[in-house]
Subunit: 266 residues, 2 copies
């Protein structure tokens, strides 16, 4: 593979132990794995030295040791969205399947980033044609973009790795220039006050989407009912429809009493 012959940035001078270990974890941010032999060449030290570094980092739990090198530890990498995407797959797939039935060719959708909505987008990319998706999630864009008949518009802003999407005032301002038929958004919790989530920046994006869409469908699994996050996204009346996987517990049925958010069970 890529040799490092008298490497440019590496031969500056001898790095100390700390500097080497920092470089190793940095390298693992760019590449999923590193090899001891390659690092030794790059640092201009012996493989034994690198081996000791890697072993030390491994003991600290910063990296995960492999035969011949090291890899990113599963937890340190993307505990956030990645882990969340792998739980409740069954339920979320049901929600997603149900949600696509409300979408028709020609629709313009706003979809916020999130684990549940990502299943929804995956189904959209498979089943539907001639729709436009406006989103702040690069994951959604990448998935939906594989379908050439789906037009994807990505919102700008500060990129937040944890959510794999853009956030900040730019997003809301950008969204205000568009108008959509529907907004499909997720939420961290759902009470009689309305949908809520844990982070203010997440809420602002969802709010902007709801504001600019003709109607709003909430995608939440049954575990979200009763959760109270930091901030309420919008009053209950602004939500047109709630799609979930199984009936909410009786104590939260009052949410749908007035029939204002329509309840759909996938």
């Amino acid at each position: 593979m890529a040799r490092a012959p008298a490497d440019h940035g590496a031969m500056k001078r001898k790095l100390g132990k700390q500097a080497r270990q920092d470089r190793i974890v940095a390298e693992l941010r760019a590449n999923p794995t590193v090899r001891i032999s390659a690092l030794a060449r790059a640092f201009g030290v012996t493989t034994e030295t690198v081996r000791r570094d890697v072993d030390a980092l491994s003991r600290e739990g910063v990296v995960s040791r492999t035969y011949g090198g090291a890899a990113v530890t599963a937890l340190a990498h993307e505990p956030s969205l990645d882990e969340r995407a792998n739980i409740l797959v069954e339920e979320r797939t049901r929600i997603a399947n149900c949600a696509v039935s409300f979408v028709q060719p020609g629709d313009v959708l706003m979809i916020d980033s999130g684990a549940t909505t990502s299943h929804f987008v995956r189904r959209l990319a498979v089943e539907l044609k001639d729709i436009t998706i406006i989103t702040n999630s690069i994951g959604h864009a990448a998935v939906a973009g594989t379908n050439p008949s789906i037009k994807v518009i990505l919102a700008p802003g500060y990129y937040v790795a944890r959510e794999r999407g853009t956030y900040g005032p730019e997003v809301a301002e950008f969204l205000r220039r568009y108008r959509a038929n529907h907004a499909f958004i997720g939420a961290g919790g759902m009470t009689v006050e309305g949908p809520n989530d844990v982070s203010a920046e997440l809420c602002w994006v969802k709010r902007a989407m709801i504001e600019r869409a003709g109607s709003c469908t909430l995608l939440v699994d049954h575990g979200k009912f009763g959760n109270l996050g930091l901030e309420v996204i919008c009053p209950l009346e602004r939500v047109t429809r709630v799609i979930t996987d199984s009936p909410p517990p009786p104590e939260h049925q009052p949410i749908f009493l007035k029939g204002k958010p329509e309840l759909v069970i996938g």
Copy 2:
């Protein structure tokens, strides 16, 4: 290639190929790395068989190969089903290594999407701290975003799957609201007229970045000299510096005669 040998659950003694590979990725959800030898023992097959499985998964980008095993992929890294990213890695890595030496902490960079610039961003994410990156590439954003000390601003627009980035008038308009120290851009070709590329929409993004940056560095491999694409991006004088991997052929040396674009060989 995409054949599923319809294995029912009756396979208790020996697992089929598909079942093994599924088990491997499942194993990787629990442990950050697996070893071929261990898997071979667990499955009751030869290490060669597991090696083939792992190699296959690695080619698909599902796992990342290590010496003696496999590791979880960084998810941000692999989605390069793009064959262009896998050629000239040697040359592009050299260019990227050279380019990072021109960047200092505190810099604000505009970087356009492209195969060559992606190597550059990867190095940036490893070696530098406290910089701001403004880009239209979701790949760049995902990679740079793993480094918490790098601020990433993503430009809006129509998402183009082929380029894994945003394009269209929105991009240029958005960029106009920022000001950067440097622009690092790639190009499909390079002649005495200046850098060029094959698609008008690509050119408009590059143009906007050059316009809004104090100086502009072009990252091109040696094969690009003499290529004439559809559209010239900007006159030669607007380019501050050209970084390439090996000296351009003599017939294209005139590009650098006036010393206006500085020539740097990585």
